[in-house]
């Protein structure tokens, strides 16, 4: 079953590239401590110092106790780096840490589709790590989360993309047509064109990836 999910690793490399572009966000007024901190973190991330970036996000999280974004990014770094971790014990420690950040962020912002997708991505790390052991249980959990995220934000292109890509992976594996999901991708791309993040430093990745998948799979 492992093979089903290996394609997902590619997806997450794309996520990093996208998430990093956030660092470019700037504001005209004098930057606040929060803006400085976040910009510094994104800059470190861009410089390939992702662990240092995670440390900065962790520090901001302790200072900004009602903002879900710092723990969201701290978790995301642990998760993305998890895809390349081959030592099960290290991976468990790392994902436990990510899970704590997700729990912390979820306590601040309930039913947040971006956090649901991040949780699904955490499960995906386990599936990629050992599909035979974790594939069955965690893929069902991940599916449920993608469905729920899309139900909460039906017009958010990132949720449409996440679910479409997940479904396409399954369809490909079983030799079925990915055609039904192409219209979802198309819709996501159209929505990305006018997509405005809810606020500064909010997640905004996905457009490039959607276009890439469309080019590879849909005519």
């Amino acid at each position: 079953m492992q093979n089903v999910f290996t394609y997902l690793t590619i997806f997450f490399t794309a996520v990093i590239m996208q998430a990093q572009t956030d660092a470019a966000v700037s504001s005209t007024a004098a930057p606040t401590k929060y803006q400085q901190g976040m910009q510094k973190a994104f800059q470190l991330w861009q410089e390939d110092k992702s662990w240092e970036a995670a440390n900065v996000f962790e520090r901001i999280a302790t200072a900004e106790t009602d903002n879900w974004l710092p723990p969201y990014y701290a978790a995301q770094i642990n998760i993305i780096n998890g895809f390349s971790e081959k030592d099960g014990a290290k991976l468990k420690a790392q994902l436990d840490k990510a899970q704590n950040f997700i729990n912390y962020a979820t306590a601040i912002s309930k039913d947040n589709p971006d956090l649901l997708v991040l949780q699904a991505q955490l499960y995906t790390v386990w599936i990629v790590f050992d599909g035979q052991q974790y594939g069955m249980t965690y893929s069902a959990k991940a599916s449920e989360l993608y469905n729920k995220a899309l139900a909460l934000a039906p017009n958010n292109p990132r949720m449409i993309l996440a679910k479409a890509e997940w479904d396409m992976g399954g369809a490909k594996y079983f030799g079925q047509s990915v055609e039904p999901y192409c219209k979802d991708l198309q819709r996501a791309i159209e929505l990305f064109a006018t997509f405005k993040p809810e606020g500064e430093f909010y997640p905004r990745y996905g457009e490039e990836r959607a276009k890439q998948i469309q080019a590879e799979n849909c005519n």
């Binding site: 079953m1 093979n3 401590k33 400085q36 901190g37 662990w51 240092e52 995670a54 440390n55 900065v56 962790e58 520090r59 901001i60 302790t62 200072a63 642990n78 099960g88 014990a89 290290k90 468990k92 420690a93 790392q94 436990d96 840490k97 039913d111 050992d130 035979q132 052991q133 974790y134 069955m136 249980t137 893929s139 069902a140 959990k141 599916s143 449920e144 993608y146 469905n147 729920k148 479904d167 399954g170 369809a171 079983f174 030799g175 079925q176």
Partner: protein, 727 residues
């Protein structure tokens, strides 16, 4: 003048006024090795830095007065110091390893875990159901583990020279009194409960926790799923019957009362009828009414605040009638059986403040069995309940304490009805117990578990006290040694208690030493043990009866070696495991004239299970081989008792699961593919023939082979899930 100096200082040396303090230190682990990349910061501020390659950190802060400095790093416990910022210079900080880690030693003596939630799983959830010879029976899959004996005609768990009733089964910590469906003497029984309602299974072959009692040899702990993944419907069409399952989830985001954090219900019904199968492939039995089982199960889960309420209910009804071969009765013995069994179990668990958590639960079993043997009708009615309350206090990651109380209640009645004779016998068996257990993790390398259990039996007016202790030491990165000792008590079985209460509990003592190596998807375990039995019940007749004389004079021992190897790495797409058990046991109990190796035990057991995933075929091919050396029986034509051995037992089973599409699976299996003839034992005539010879008959399985074809279809919103994990 003074003012202008201040102004000068203010402009050119502002840090004097804004009090920029430098915070610095070195971070190492317990072996003084520097930790690079750790996060050191003043909590609640933006000030901090990551440690360098040499574990050093240094940063400036504007914070003043008393602050908290936190140092955190993955897989270590976070370090916090609260003091004045001016004191935070050249700190020497030692991080303690987080013992809540995969690398921490686990107490492995005696127990096997299956499921995602355990650190080292010997079996994965899928295995319970994809093992070729198991045919979806969770007990069948466990019989491929070392420490079990293949008793093919019985189907129950026989552990380390123990009788089947020395193993107790618990669902969510609550005892199951009648876990197996009744069958004829030549068809193995199956566990009553469907494996896919469970997500964690722990099978302990000895030395288990003080929380569990009334089991001399082994406990099997099944945990129902806390929260199902998704809403779905499962349809099964099989050569032996049909099944339907449905899971419904109610989301917490729907407007409901504030306490409702979500609930779900899983229902599962099945109907098995062997009549069509036997019409095509007749077996050795002369059926009047082939096997028919109707069963239903339901699990309801409700989150209440931080707590979780689970209610589990299972009902099944078994019917069959046949004429059983018998060496003493040429025309055969008519046997008909009708069993109704109802089991319900409710539990509530909740995390409280300050590291406390509470668990409360209870179960009720109603078992009604009607057996007709020849002219006699026997009706057994068993009503049992179990109540349990447990509190847990987590003092830290390194020290936890459990304690609790439980009560077992059994009301057993038997009604015997023959033409000129009727009788009613029965008993009430109430047992109260207290238990407490402490878990101490000294370091990632050393862990200790100490437990004590006290039981009071009302029937015998007897108090028993059983200490339990286990210890684990990590010998290398991937290897560890565990030791365990325990005292175990169990009431004699119902078949004895219905005639007498002038007895005490049977007793066993376990000594276990275990070595475990686990790395890279490979697990090796070797375990040696010694178990001594005392106070075993003896009686004078062939089977217990009103006329029997009962004593607690029996005793015995079992000792041996269990070896397990699982490898999911060496061969691509192949996962296999090998179990071997060596057993040396003798006991004097029941009506044994001398101490002997009982007929359910044998010296060597080997089992090999393999699974091969063929990607291009979307198929999983399963293979299993079971070998058991001969078992003893008494040859009446020669002097002695349990002095002869049957031939060896061999069984190769194959299965093939083919994924038609994501949600449709076709499944085939053959049990005993090479049709080995396995003789389970012999039945001798009660009286010798004219030449003084006792005639005998082979005890053979109802059928040498069994074929199974099934089609499994799952309907879920995401169109992904399937029943591969239910096969």
């Amino acid at each position: 003048m003074k003012n202008s100096i201040i102004l000068f200082l203010f402009i050119f040396l502002p840090h004097l006024f804004f009090a920029q303090t430098i915070i610095s230190g070195t971070v190492t682990d317990e072996r003084n090795v520097p930790i690079p990349g750790a996060n050191a910061y003043i909590e609640g501020s933006y000030d901090g830095s990551s440690t360098t390659e040499s574990g050093m950190f240094s940063f400036e802060t504007n914070e003043t007065g008393t602050q908290t400095l936190t140092v955190s790093y993955v897989s270590f416990e976070a370090y916090k110091i609260t003091t004045s910022v001016s004191e935070m210079k050249n700190l020497q900080i030692t991080l303690r390893e987080d013992v809540n880690s995969l690398e921490t030693v686990t107490i492995a003596a005696g127990s096997f875990s299956a499921g995602d939630n355990s650190k080292i799983s010997v079996l994965k959830p899928l295995d319970i159901v994809t093992t070729a010879n198991a045919l979806g029976d969770f007990v069948g899959a466990l019989q491929t583990l070392p420490g079990t004996t293949t008793v093919a005609e019985d189907g129950r768990l026989f552990v380390r020279g123990g009788d089947a009733n020395e193993t107790q089964i618990f669902i969510d910590g609550i005892r199951v009194f009648t876990p197996y469906s009744p069958t004829t003497e030549n068809i193995p029984t199956r566990g009553r409960y469907s494996p896919f309602l469970f997500d964690g299974i722990t099978f302990s072959t000895g030395g288990y926790s003080a929380e569990y009692g009334q089991a001399l040899s082994s406990v099997l702990l099944l945990n129902t799923i806390d929260e199902p993944d998704q809403q779905k419907t499962d349809v099964s069409i099989m050569s032996v019957g049909v099944g339907l399952g449905h899971t419904q989830k109610w989301s917490p985001s729907e407007p409901k009362a504030a306490w409702n954090k979500g609930s779900s219900l899983s229902l599962n019904v099945s109907y098995i009828n062997l009549a069509p199968y036997i019409a095509i492939l007749p077996d050795r039995n002369n059926w009047k009414r082939p096997f028919e089982i109707a069963s239903g199960e339901a699990v309801f889960r409700q989150k209440i605040g931080d707590g979780l309420l689970k209610i589990y209910g299972a009902f099944d009804s078994t019917n069959f009638a046949l004429t059983q071969e018998d060496i003493n009765v040429p025309e055969g013995v008519a046997l008909k059986l009708n069993n109704q069994n109802f089991y319900t179990n409710a539990s509530y668990s909740q995390k409280l403040n300050h590291g406390w958590s509470i668990f409360g639960g209870g179960s009720y079993t109603y078992g009604n069995t009607k057996v007709g043997i020849a002219e006699a009708n026997i009706k057994d009615l068993e009503k049992s309940a179990h109540l349990k309350l447990k509190l847990k206090k987590r003092f830290s990651n390194r020290f936890k304490l459990d304690f609790g109380a439980e009560q077992f209640i059994t009301d057993f009645n038997e009604f015997y009805d023959e033409q000129n004779f009727t009788a009613k016998i029965g008993f009430n068996n109430n047992i109260s117990a207290l238990f407490s257990e402490g878990d101490i993790i000294f370091t990632r390398k050393v862990a200790l578990k100490l437990g004590l259990r006290a039981e009071y039996s009302q029937l015998f007016d007897e108090v028993t006290v059983s200490p339990r202790i286990s210890f684990a030491y990590k010998t290398g990165k991937s290897s560890q040694v565990s030791l365990a000792y325990g005292d175990f008590f169990q009431q004699p079985e119902n078949g004895v208690l219905k005639f007498t209460n002038n007895l005490v509990a049977e007793r066993s003592q376990h000594y276990i030493m275990n070595y475990q190596y686990a790395a890279n998807n490979r697990i090796f375990r070797a375990e040696i043990y010694r178990k001594s039995y005392s106070n075993l019940v003896t009686f004078t007749e062939e089977t217990p009866s009103v006329n029997s004389v009962f004593t607690n004079g029996g005793d015995g021992y079992a000792q041996g070696l269990d070896v397990f190897w699982r490898d999911n790495e060496s061969i691509k797409n192949v996962d296999y495991w090998v179990s071997y058990s060596f057993l040396d046991t003798e006991r004097k109990y029941k009506n044994y004239p001398i101490a002997a190796m009982p007929g359910f035990a044998n010296t060597h057991n080997l089992s090999v299970v393999g699974k091969y995933w063929i990607n291009d075929w979307k198929s999983q091919i399963g293979f299993s081989y079971q070998f058991g050396s001969g078992r003893f029986y008494t040859d009446l034509n020669r002097p002695g008792f349990l002095q002869e051995k049957t031939g060896t037992y061999n069984n190769v089973s194959l299965n093939w699961a083919y994924l038609l599409s994501q949600q449709k699976i076709l499944y085939f299996s053959i049990n005993n593919a090479f049709a080995f003839k396995n003789v389970n034992g012999y039945q001798y005539a009660n009286t010798p023939d004219a030449s003084g010879n006792f005639a005998r008959r082979e005890l053979l399985p109802a059928a040498d082979q069994f074929f199974f074809v099934g089609f499994f279809w799952t309907i879920s919103a995401d169109g992904k899930d399937n029943q591969l994990d239910n096969l």
